[in-house]
Symmetry: C2
Subunit: 258 residues, 2 copies
DNA sequence: GCGTTCACTTCCGCTCAGCGGAAGTGAACG
DNA sequence: CGTTCACTTCCGCTGAGCGGAAGTGAACGC
């Protein structure tokens, strides 16, 4: 019965997006059959959609036959973050230069941190953040720094959900985490001790604009060097303050005409 | 006549992509009506498509009612460039650190350079490249560095097309440009003198893998400081060589299992 | 307060673009 | 040579999609 068994009520747009959604950090390269399986669609449907996406360069087919996200989407994505990354980058560079440590910048998206930039050198580091990647808030320095300065209802909402436990050191009891967040707020910066990854500690400070946390700057170091963390706090705070100023200025600037 | 006047032979996928294609660096924020106009579709069609794209966070609606590219596309885009940016970034940092100049990395895409990374400080510089942006090859340092090492048929093809002339100094005569590219190839690096932007000069070197130019590293300085360019060439060449090695190593590494 | 303009937002009859099972193709393997 | 795998192509059927038209809400000027 050709033409039968149509999946009810599903738009083409949602299907196109499901194809794109099949790709993630764990699955950056996929065969047609894998895309079909991951998106839950018939192979021939996927074949049609992927053909058009490839023509537009949203997806690119490598010589081995696998598809990956194409440059066109990367270009388009560069329009997304607004001025934050641009204004923060030079300060991240300075923090990298003055501390010698790898530096990252994250924002809150829902109940996760989303890493929007990273300045790193050639030294191997125990850093699990990936630009464009997401991690939970409560075990990460930047996550704590962001969460601590959110309104109480956001914090309460976050604490009302089950908290995952990446390591045995992760703080998952709501009461204890709430106390931790209050301390972060009082101090102005956050630290973690093997809460996200065994062998890693971090320090982070929020980028505040009008008292609201719009981003956080963080540094991750190996636990073997945990005692060095205290010297990192001040430079992090200084840079976070500079980014706040620069971002506030950028937000207040007149929008480009169009 | 409801249901009439359907635009013939146009797929939904192509329409979705046309909506996304309406956004560019000059038009990063658009109203629904502007998207409709730029994509050449009826307002109600665009309304439907944009609704779904917004739900998926491919587009985000700002408080002023305008749409911009959403974080989800930015995240997806981070999967695109492969290892090049990752392996190059630390070396770009070093070049920035050792020269004090802003540094960018570009690849060839068709007959344009596409900027894939940039390391910049707080000093204002006459640099027109934007990460995710495109420029013509012949008036840019990185463009020349890339083009000079392409096979002859690519060079011939590039030279057979009309060459734009951003400044009076731009080399647009095919013969003259061909000679310039031969010199670039012999020297191993490229320079420009106010060919892309009045007031700006650049130096750039290709990142070669198996003799093929996979990227180029460049620095742009103000023409007032053009005499300093000669001191920049050696560090650029060194870094380009390091990136070549690192990228070759990354390409040769076993692919992550999936 | 009223009329006008602008930017959507909703509605719905009509139809063709899209679906997906089935058949076909090509490459690799034993 | 047969089997398996990963597509690629085909085509009858139908409901998702189209877009003009109508409706809504906000802003503005008189």
């Amino acid at each position: 019965m050709p033409g039968g068994a149509r999946q009810a009520g599903r738009s083409v747009t949602s299907r196109v997006l499901a194809v794109l959604g099949a790709f993630d950090a764990e699955h950056p390269r996929l065969t047609l059959t894998e895309i079909a399986r991951r998106s839950g669609m018939a192979l021939s449907t996927v074949h049609r959609l992927v053909g058009e996406l490839e023509a537009w360069q949203a997806l690119t087919r490598a010589p081995d036959g696998r598809f990956h996200v194409g440059l066109r989407l990367w270009e388009l994505g560069q329009l997304a973050p607004g001025p934050l990354q641009q204004v923060a980058r030079p300060w991240l560079q300075e923090l990298f230069g003055s501390t010698g440590e790898n530096v990252h910048l994250a924002v809150r998206d829902g109940f996760e941190v989303l890493y929007v930039d990273k300045v790193h050198g050639r030294r191997a580091v125990p850093i699990v953040s990936r630009v464009g990647g997401r991690l939970p808030m409560h075990p990460t320095g930047v996550g704590k720094a962001l969460l601590a300065f959110e309104p109480d209802r956001v914090v309460a909402s976050y604490l009302s959900r089950p908290l995952e436990r990446p390591t045995p050191h992760t703080i998952t009891e709501p009461g204890r985490l709430a106390r931790e967040l209050r301390q972060v707020r009082e101090r102005g910066y956050a630290v973690t001790h093997e809460e996200m990854t065994l062998g890693s500690c971090s320090a982070a400070a929020p980028v505040l604009v009008d008292g609201r946390p719009v981003a956080a700057v963080g540094i991750v170091v190996s636990s073997r060097r945990a005692r060095e963390m205290q010297r990192l706090v001040e430079p992090i705070l200084v840079v976070a303050g500079h980014i706040s100023d620069a971002y506030r200025t950028a937000l207040a600037a007149p929008q480009p005409p169009q």
